[in-house]
């Protein structure tokens, strides 16, 4: 399958995770020329673990030797983690920023911040309010153009975010509920048809937001140097791509305004996003 500019081939010792992926990614095209950029393999930790308490190991072009296996019921999560891993370790063309991205009017809003800040939930909610989802995990910044490319894989909702989005979205957009994962309870959401149809259309970044969930509503400007530091930390390949990454990131932080927003609930979050967007 192809997600944005990146093609993946997923292989598995078991049929179930591949069937789930085929269902959830049914609307996605094949890789350009049929050649994937990355391969992910889900394989049994031991030969007999294909059948006895099946344990899924994540393999592929790039691997983490210390990664613990997941139970087969979480095979879909293993596949998603495998795809993220290939991107995080292998992507060289784009500067990868750990961020959710939505677009409106041809301009991109980048939501970045620590895990648990609510990026995925916020991106899912914004996609129901007139924004195009470009991705909930990685922003792909092209050093050659300064444009952000979409990477709209399944939205990975965690814990309380699941119920928040489920209140607004039909059940057929959701994958299976995955309980007891290393990140708690996870449920994937299929991006809407518009997000998939437009995934080859990049957008110029217009605003960077650092959302924080669980605080009283507040907002402040973030200086270019603070954005620079936070985005180097939020990038998985800044060091690997060298000077191109430096050029791309310094240009981004000098030309795009940044705000930090705190919010106690999703209504406040959406309102603050809209206010910051209007004032950018």
């Amino acid at each position: 399958m192809r997600i944005g500019p990146v093609g993946f081939r997923i292989g598995s010792d078991w049929r179930a995770p591949v069937e789930q992926l085929e269902t959830l990614y049914a609307a996605y095209p094949k890789p350009h020329d049929g050649v994937p950029d990355f391969t992910v393999r889900l394989f049994a930790a031991r030969p007999w673990r294909r059948f006895m308490r099946p344990a899924v190991m994540i393999g592929g072009d790039y691997v983490l030797p210390e990664a613990a296996p997941l139970p087969l019921a979480q095979g879909l999560l293993a596949a998603e983690m495998g795809m993220n891993l290939q991107m995080a370790l292998g992507q060289r063309r784009y500067l990868l920023l750990h961020a959710a991205v939505v677009e409106r009017g041809g301009q991109a809003l980048v939501l970045t911040g620590v895990s648990g800040a609510g990026k995925s939930t916020l991106a899912a909610l914004l996609s129901l309010r007139g924004w195009r989802l470009m991705g909930d995990e990685f922003a792909l910044l092209d050093p050659a153009t300064g444009l952000i490319h979409a990477f709209p894989r399944l939205i990975s909702l965690k814990n309380a975010g699941i119920a928040t989005v489920a209140a607004e979205l039909p059940a057929d957009r959701f994958g299976p509920l995955l309980e007891g994962t290393p990140k708690g309870t996870i449920r994937h959401v299929v991006p809407d048809a518009a997000a998939v149809a437009a995934m080859d259309v990049p957008a110029r970044p217009a605003l960077i937001l650092f959302p924080s969930f669980g605080f009283d509503a507040a907002a402040r400007d973030v200086s270019p140097s603070e954005v620079f530091v936070r985005l180097t930390q939020a990038s998985t390949n800044y060091v690997a791509i060298g000077e191109r990454g430096f050029d791309a990131l310094t240009t981004l932080v000098k030309t795009v305004p940044a705000r930090a927003i705190d919010y106690p609930d999703t209504d406040s979050a959406v309102a603050q996003v809209e206010a910051a967007w209007a004032a950018r």
Binding site: S223, P224, S225, F228, V239, F246, D247
Partner: protein
């Protein structure tokens, strides 16, 4: 104070090995030789600009910084400590 560097000439690393971008009160410096990004603040950018390619001795550097920049209450010892840090990172050389 004692100028421990004596007559040694300090130079900014060759310009083609550096990329310097002023962000705000901080300046980002990409060091091509090491691939490391440095985020520096006053007086480091001023020291780099003053040394330039021609280079200066420690005492000449202090004299030029005093006339060219308003570096507040920075004393000579602090300025020379920053210079030594720049040497340690490779952004300034004594060769």
């Amino acid at each position: 104070m004692e100028d421990a560097g004596g007559g040694i000439v300090y130079r900014m690393a060759r310009p083609e090995t550096l990329k310097i971008v002023h962000l705000d009160t901080f300046t980002a410096v990409y060091h091509r030789a090491s691939g490391i990004t440095h985020l520096v603040t006053a007086p480091a950018p001023e020291i780099l600009a003053t040394l330039g390619e021609a280079g200066l001795t420690r005492s000449a550097l202090l004299a030029r910084l005093a006339t060219d920049y308003d570096l507040g209450d920075a004393d000579a010892a602090a300025l020379l400590a920053r210079l030594d840090e720049l040497v340690a990172t490779g952004l300034v050389s004594t060769a």
